[in-house]
């Protein structure tokens, strides 16, 4: 099709959608809508993962982000009853400046990201690295220490969240 392979088409479409939804996250007034757009963006990214042969990661991504994190967001939004368009907006000038800064940042980044062509390209397609088995071996082998220590992180987050969340007992 038009000289592009199906993967390329998929890449193009997913990228377009991801960027569009990403923009919608930022520009939608209603927070609920933002959340939903973000979920959509995550789906697009999951699609990219699939394209990149990271099947397990794609699944985990959906489960953790779309399934857990975004639900948490939704809960909080509802809890605070922010389900309206009444959010005070920043001054237009601030937004414009933010946009400009974003543009410049993009410019700079694009400029600085060149040079990837020199990277040695690997044979692809037959890659098995994204499979659970492979990932598990790496995770529980080389990355055992970070894995263990991540528990401390989660514990800390848990303790912290609970501490802040609970009522003061006098």
């Amino acid at each position: 099709m038009l000289g592009y392979s199906i993967t390329q088409w998929l890449f193009g479409i997913l990228s377009f959608l991801a960027i569009m939804f990403g923009l919608m996250v930022v520009f939608t007034r209603n927070p609920i809508n933002s959340v939903l757009y973000l979920v959509l963006t995550f789906f697009c990214i999951a699609g990219h993962y699939l394209l990149l042969n990271a099947q397990f990661l794609a699944v985990v991504h959906i489960v953790v982000y779309a399934g857990a994190i975004m639900v948490l967001f939704l809960f909080v939004i509802m809890l605070m009853n922010l389900n309206e368009d009444s959010e005070p907006q920043k001054a237009v000038i601030t937004k414009v400046i933010a946009g400009c800064i974003g543009g410049v940042l993009l410019f700079v980044m694009v400029g600085s990201l060149k040079g990837a062509e020199q990277l040695q390209l690997q044979a692809s397609g037959a890659s098995q690295i994204g499979l659970v088995k492979n990932l598990g071996r790496v995770l529980f082998g080389e990355f055992l220490f970070p894995f263990e220590i991540a528990s401390v992180l989660l514990l800390a987050a848990m303790v912290g969240a609970i501490m802040l969340g609970k009522k003061e007992i006098k």
Binding site: L144, L153, A156, V159, L164
Partner: protein, 469 residues
């Protein structure tokens, strides 16, 4: 490594105190535990091979799949962190006793310490990232821990947002470096760098990591969070931030930029120089017109960060820069702990401005003396530890082409003297509002005595530390 395990275990233990009802014993247990961690750390130190002054990252005592590696440098910094933490626990004893969720506080602090210790010993981007987060997330919570106080909320919130953003930059940097080198392992990255021929975006990655680390050590223009967070947080937490967190951040900074990216320092040298100049200028100038001592100390911490960055910038041969940072962070931590202790005590009524110190010399001469010594040390007056710290920085930097920074450093140091001496003048010269003596409990008095002594001893015998590495 044992130290890290003990501290982490203590954190978990502390969590259980509520359930298993040994809350009352928690404080002594933690103190003993921290001491134990220090001892363990020290034992590991003594078990290091001889010839400890070898090059960086030699003399590995413990390592784990290229994830974490306790070498002489990391043990030294761990020692500094643990001893500072010990002082900090003494300082904040009544903070804990007043707090309802004491258990949570203990575990959070201990978890943060775990992260801090990781930062001294990581050899992989994964452990770096996790270490930073383990250190930061409890700090976000602690900063916000005065639940009813909007200022504290604001502090936690700002810290969180800015910290997350910095993490994002850090990650982007890591990703780019990973893309360019194909590895997260510091040693491997280093060897790739020395092989040369790197894509441009590798440098972008380095810069992004640099920005993230500069944020962590609160250097301008990434410092904006620091004064606000320091001011809003409960005083003891501020003390923790300006000592342990800062030391850990520098330990990490050093590993990254002296070892891993040492080969490409021409990329980040000038950036760093400008950042230092900006930090020196902004922090000292702004501190000069502060009314709140706490906020002044926040700005002063930025200025000290700039000094430590100078040591990294100097990138002196051998372990010199590392020694300088080790010494500086110890001197600064000790001085900070002492001044925060006094600040914490005199500001119990809520006044954190210079007025709170008025006439302290009359109301409690010994405490005023302790504060005086710590202020002199922070200002860098001989023969305190702070002086030698600055001296080492100067002497490291004078051999480089960044001599102009020295001039700026001197100029701003004079401004620095201005705001430190405002405290001294308040203590010794201003009339107090009340004549009643300020009561200090034994623990605090002892702490001040010890810090003052350490400050002077280090000022007289800097070799004690310098010779360690």
């Amino acid at each position: 490594m044992k130290g890290l395990c003990i501290i982490g275990g203590l954190g978990v233990l502390a969590m259980m105190a509520e359930v298993f009802k040994f809350k009352k014993w928690l404080y002594p247990i933690v103190l003993i535990g921290v001491l134990g961690a220090y001892v363990a750390n020290f034992i590991e130190w003594t078990q290091l091979a001889d010839g400890q002054t070898g090059s960086f990252l030699d003399h590995v005592f413990f390592k784990f799949n290229n994830m974490i590696r306790f070498d002489n440098v990391s043990l030294a910094f761990s020692g500094v962190i643990i001893i500072t933490a010990f002082f900090w626990f003494i300082m904040s004893n009544d903070y804990f006793s007043n707090e309802t969720s004491v258990v949570d506080h203990f575990s959070l602090v201990l978890f943060a310490l775990t992260g801090a210790l990781m930062l001294t010993a990581f050899t992989n981007m994964t452990t770096l990232f996790l270490g930073i987060e383990i250190l930061s997330i409890p700090m976000y919570v602690l900063a916000a821990s005065k639940k009813g106080d909007v200022k504290s909320n604001e502090a936690g919130f700002k810290y969180l947002i800015m910290g997350s953003l910095a993490s994002a930059f850090l990650l982007f940097g890591i990703a780019l470096i990973y893309g360019a080198t194909g590895s997260f392992d510091l040693m491997q990255i280093r060897s790739v760098i020395s092989a040369g021929n790197l894509p441009v975006f590798f440098y972008a990655g380095v810069i992004m990591m640099l920005v993230a680390m500069l944020f962590k050590v609160s250097a301008a223009p990434f410092h904006f969070w620091a004064p606000d967070v320091y001011e809003g947080s409960p005083t003891v937490i501020t003390a923790l931030m300006s000592t342990v967190v800062k030391t850990a951040a520098f330990a990490a900074f050093m590993r990254l930029f002296l070892v891993t990216f040492g080969g490409v320092n021409e990329t980040w040298g000038m950036v760093m120089a400008i950042v230092i100049a900006l930090s020196l200028f902004i922090s000292n100038i702004t501190a000069a017109s502060q009314n709140s001592v706490k906020r002044m100390l926040a700005y002063s911490s930025i200025s000290h960060a700039a000094f430590m960055l100078m040591a990294i910038l100097a990138n002196a041969p051998g372990l010199t820069s590392v020694k300088v940072i080790l010494y500086y962070s110890l001197a600064y931590s000790i001085g900070s702990i002492a001044s925060f202790t006094v600040l914490y005590q005199v500001s119990k009524k809520g006044d954190e401005s210079y007025h709170a110190f008025n006439g302290l010399a009359k109301r409690n001469p010994m405490i005023a003396l302790g504060m005086l010594i710590s202020m002199l040390s922070l200002a860098g007056i001989p023969v305190t530890a702070g002086f030698f710290a600055k001296y080492y920085v100067f002497s490291a930097l004078i051999a480089t082409s960044y001599k102009w920074l020295l001039i700026l450093a001197v100029l701003t140091s004079c401004v620095g003297v201005y705001y430190y001496f405002k405290v001294i003048i308040a203590m010794y010269f201003k009339k107090p509002e009340t004549e009643e003596p300020v009561q200090f409990e034994l623990g605090h008095a002892l702490l001040l005595g010890i810090t003052a002594m350490v400050t002077l001893v280090l000022g007289l015998m800097p070799d004690l530390i310098i010779r360690m590495l």
